[in-house]
Amino acid sequence: MAALVPGPRARSLALVLVTWLLTGIVAAAQAPAEYQVKAAYLFGFGRFVEWPAAAVENSPFTICVLGDDPMGHWLDDVASTGTIRNRPVRVQRLTDVEGAGGCQMVFISASEELRLARIFAALQSRPVLTVSDLPQFVQRGGMVGFVMAGSRVRFAVNVPPAQAAGLSLSPELLRVATTVVRGGQR
């Protein structure tokens, strides 16, 4: 029986092991992965942008991912937890912009950089919020572009194309954006 009882050394070893494990878990919890944050932000954009009534009628709110999906299950997880504009959220993964007809929001993956012009053309004036983490996305005509500020995920906003698409970006959203591009049209 005595042989089965761990000695003091064995116990301290176990303590160190447990501590190390816990530290790792806490560290992981404190610093969520970049794409986990981005997935959550995508979800959040839905709540701070207003679509024309016709665009969101009678259907789940659809977030589309165009190209290679860097967020994976994070986005599905977020989508399953809440609603946007009081409607369930659906995630649709597309390989081509042609399938984006039922989307209210399109995340353009970095893999689509070369097809960007075509994508913008396809979505021209349609009530679809374009989001991407491509560099200089808003300068290139996108509506919301992720930028990194150190380790933190932030975003820039381009108002004119959103307005052209009939979308209304809420002041709250503009407030937390790092850069807001405003058109001189109005």
């Binding site: 932000y41 959040g44 701070f48 809440g82 932030r154 959203l173 407030r175 937390v176």
Partner: protein, 497 residues
């Protein structure tokens, strides 16, 4: 107490004013406390509601900051609360309770997560009168984004409460003073007559002056009291006067009667003296001529005539003695007495010696106590001893073995009592009181000679010595005469008589 201004400070007025003051003050205090409590609760609820609205505004402004994890913007939003100086601190918390952003008016530790119940959207708590804590849940589309917490001062409320207390105290003091004044003015009609009555009663018992009257003011019971008091005073005064009048009348009557009595007494004594004195000269003539008849006409008078003349002489001599006794009796009341120690023992021996000389053939046992002395008038006391011992000698003359005793014993109150005792004829005790009257005789003249004045003289003398004399006897068993001697009294005697 003075006659003026007493009702203002009389205890009744003060008491009434105090009761009035207490009543109004307590009513005021109660009303004030209720009002203050109501106001306090109302103001506090309003304050809580306002703070909660403020927290909700902050929360809805912070939704994007919470959603997009922008603590800079959140801090900015909270910083706007600087406009409200009562807000000490505010904070935004993540759903898991971690601090997201905070604002503090003054330096210090950032606020801790409030103890908000898990499913509550609003929460508030007052920390005594120091601080108010409110918290709200920040939600967007049923998803909790975080919590807003605001801590604010209750300075307004505290100030309000202080102001209320101050106002209440000031009003209470003023109302008390006012009620006192009102009470004094309105209760003067009660307290003034009462105070006057009290003052009057005090003066009455101190000075016994029943001529004073209370001013008949006031109505109702007080008025009745005052007039009843006045009536009572009038009655007392009336009774006093009639009492004094009748007393004076009595005094006067006593004086008059005493004077009349004295006058008639003096008249009577003078009359008695002069009569006794004037009776002596015809008596002397009768006796003298009878003696002359007996001596000058002894040859011509037969035996019968001689016998009659002898009887006339004996009768005139007895009358002479009688007159002497009466004179001495009246003299006792008229003589000025002198008090000095008198040796009664020696006096008794001298009297008995005289008796033995007069009837030397009698055999009498005489016992005389030694060393009996009293303070008194020697001449009068000699008369007492003469009479008492002479009587004893006389009334024991029929006894073959006579016995006479003079001695001293002790009375009921411890006073000395002197006595003369014989074993002679005695007398019926039923007549003991009559013994001391003038001309009172219990025995026939033929049995025992005497004028019947002796014991009257004794009594008069003993009375003038403030003493008592009494007798104790039985028929055939002898008699005992007792007397006491007190202080000498000269009041009955006219001075220099």
């Amino acid at each position: 107490m003075t006659a003026t201004g007493l009702p203002r400070h009389s205890p009744v007025a003060r008491q009434l004013a105090r009761i009035n003051m207490a009543a109004s003050a307590s009513a005021l205090l109660l009303a004030g406390i209720v009002l203050a409590a109501y106001d306090f609760i109302t103001v506090r609820d309003t304050l809580v509601a306002n703070r909660l609205v403020q927290a909700q505004i902050v929360g809805s402004n912070s939704t994007s900051a919470l959603t997009f994890d922008d603590d800079r913007v959140a801090t900015e939003i909270l910083g706007a609360l600087r406009a409200a100086p009562q807000i000490q601190a505010a904070a935004l918390f993540r759903p898991d309770g971690a601090l997201f952003a905070s604002y503090q008016r003054d330096a210090g530790n950032p606020p801790a997560f409030p103890p908000l119940p898990p499913d509550a959207d609003l929460w508030h708590q007052t920390d005594g009168l120091r601080a108010l804590h409110v918290a709200t849940r920040v939600q967007l589309e049923n998803q909790t984004l975080g919590f807003v917490y605001i801590r604010s001062e209750l300075g307004d409320l505290r100030g309000r409460l202080l102001a209320y207390t101050g106002i209440l105290l000031v009003v209470a003091v003023m109302a008390s003073l006012a009620s006192q004044w009102v009470a004094r003015v309105s209760m003067r009609s009660i307290s003034q007559p009462l105070g006057e009555l009290a003052e009057l009663a005090g003066r009455l018992s101190a000075e016994r002056d029943y001529s004073v009257r209370a001013t008949a003011t006031g109505h109702g019971e007080v008025g009745v009291l005052v007039s009843a008091f006045n009536d009572m005073l009038a009655q007392i005064q009336e009774r006093d006067r009639s009492l004094r009048d009748s007393h004076d009348l009595l005094e006067r009557r006593v004086e008059e009667r005493t004077a009349a009595l004295n006058a008639s007494n003096r008249e009577l004594e003078a009359f008695c003296y002069s009569v006794s004195h004037d009776l002596r000269s015809p008596l002397r003539s009768i006796d003298g001529f009878s003696q002359a008849l007996l001596e000058d006409y002894a040859d011509t008078l037969n035996d019968e005539a001689t016998d009659y003349l002898g009887r006339i002489r004996a009768a005139t001599q007895r009358m002479g003695t009688l007159i002497d006794d009466l004179l001495s009796l009246s003299r006792i009341s008229r003589t000025q007495l002198t008090s000095k120690p008198v040796d009664l023992t020696a006096m008794a021996r001298s009297v008995i010696d005289d008796c033995r000389t007069l009837s030397p053939d009698r055999q009498v046992d005489v016992v005389i106590a030694e060393g009996v002395t009293v303070n008194g008038d020697a001449r009068l006391l000699r008369q007492v001893m003469d009479n008492l011992l002479g009587n004893a000698w006389k009334f024991s003359s029929r006894q073959p073995q006579a016995r006479i005793e003079f001695g001293m014993t002790t009375g009921e109150r411890g006073e000395p009592v002197y006595f003369v005792k014989d074993n002679g004829a005695g007398f019926d005790p039923a007549y003991a009181q009559r013994l001391f009257g003038v001309f009172q005789r219990l025995h026939a003249m033929t049995e025992f000679p005497g004028t019947g004045v002796g014991l009257a003289i004794v009594e008069r003398i003993i009375q003038r010595h403030s003493g008592r004399v009494w007798a104790d006897a039985a028929v055939g068993k002898g008699a005992t005469f007792y007397f006491t001697i007190g202080a000498l009294r000269n009041d009955g005697a006219p001075s220099g008589a």
